[in-house]
């Protein structure tokens, strides 16, 4: 017991729990290195589930949970995995976590799980998860990997929530199911059917990328 406390203290002395570098790991993916808008990963699910805010919120949580835990597990095993079969090992870990999340959703949030349908299972092939495992967890310590997972998860979350906000507001006139335009006395506010269809998703995401990149100053070659 005493020993573990001691080692923990030694580590702290080496680098504080929330050092500048670690804060950067979490905050970088939020804007400057955003997984969706800058790294172009995980677009599939970003678009498919965003017709309403509620399923989007659940999806964001599910993806964050999967990224964090798969980062943690792979980072713990990083010295044991032979290089040649690492993709399969990573897929196995991700698939197990996703199945767990899927079962939990089916058990406790059945309606949302029905709404998300196959897209929960498709977190397996969400490139963000694989990308973070390859790029970060394979070469970094567990705690850093968890922070990186959290950062990427939140970076993904805010983009899809933004997309869902505009799509639900202009497509169905509501936010989290609450009828906004009726509440502020504009029951005749024209709703745009395109927003609910896939076209709206592409357009809204394209415009959000424009705004976000103009803000961060990132230019693709």
């Amino acid at each position: 017991m005493a020993e573990t406390v001691e080692t923990a203290e030694v580590k702290k002395a080496a680098e504080p729990l929330f050092s500048k570098r670690r804060k950067k790991i979490v905050t970088d993916p939020l804007n400057d290195d955003n997984p969706i808008t800058i790294q172009v990963l995980g677009i599939c699910s970003a678009l498919a589930v965003t017709t309403q805010l509620e399923p989007t919120f659940v999806m964001a949580i599910a993806v964050t949970v999967v990224i964090v835990f798969s980062n943690l597990i792979i980072s713990l095993m990083r010295n044991l995995i032979p290089g040649r079969i690492r993709i399969i090992v990573q897929l196995a870990v991700i698939a197990t976590l996703v199945s767990l999340v899927d079962q939990v959703l089916k058990a406790y949030f059945f309606d949302v799980s029905k709404m998300l349908s196959v897209f929960v299972s498709l977190i397996i092939t969400n490139c963000i998860v694989m990308g973070r495992l390859e790029a970060f967890a394979m070469g970094n310590k567990p705690y850093d990997s968890v922070l990186d997972g959290l950062g990427s998860g939140f970076g993904y979350a805010w983009i899809i929530l933004a997309v869902a906000f505009f799509r639900e507001l202009f497509g169905s006139g509501s936010i989290f199911g609450f009828k906004v335009f009726e509440a502020i006395g504009l029951p005749d506010f024209p709703l745009n059917g395109l927003m609910v269809s896939p076209v709206g998703a592409f357009m809204v995401l394209g415009l959000i990328i424009w705004v976000q990149r103009a803000y961060t100053g990132y230019v693709e070659k």
Binding site: T37, V40, L41, G42, I43, C44, S45, A46, L47, A48, I87, I88, L91, A92, A95, T96, V98, S99, D102, Q103, S117, V118, S121, L122, I124, T125, N126, C127, M130, L194, S197, P198, V199, G200, A201, F202, M203, L205, G206, L207, I209, W210, V211, R213, A214, G217, Y218, V219, E220, K221
Partner: protein, 205 residues
Amino acid sequence: MLELVNLGIKSIFIENMVFAYFLGMCSYLAVSKKVDTAMGLGLAVTFVLTITVPVNWLLQEYVLREGALSWLLGAQAAEIDLTFLQAIMFIAVIASMVQLVEMIIEKVSPALYGSLGIFLPLIAVNCAILGSSMFMVQREMGLGESAVYGFSSGIGWLLAIIAIAAIRERLKYSDVPDAMKGLGITMVITGLMGMAFMSFMGIAL
């Protein structure tokens, strides 16, 4: 027979993988800078889809479905329900199938392997592949239907990626705002293409 043709047309045009379900977007965006490479990837995806969807159908029908194991274990297996293993099994089939396809192509046609080589491993994590298998289960298709579905959704994806690659080749010469270059403008164009594809919805099959 006519139903299968209808299903084919429906999954190529009306329920296009990219424009209606956003599946396979990652590689759609990443590998669509040139028509040649887009063509190669599209063909590889079609090939893998045509094989994996029926194989996953067999797996679902004879192993995973509730009571599916009764052909092997008799009546006492009627309550065994392995559906929770679906995602893991499907991705394992896809990953190993991609590996197998890679080895076969390397052996049989080195020229094709040369042009597809780098894309093959990418396919394992293309969500269009896993997505098609999932939709196949959800829509309760038969073996023949699932084979047609796999093939035609692959063709639909091929069509989409070739179209966007051709547009992006032209886009090089146009004056796009800096922040909009690359991903942003591709998204908006995909939206416009999606709008065009929406017109197919009017076809009653």
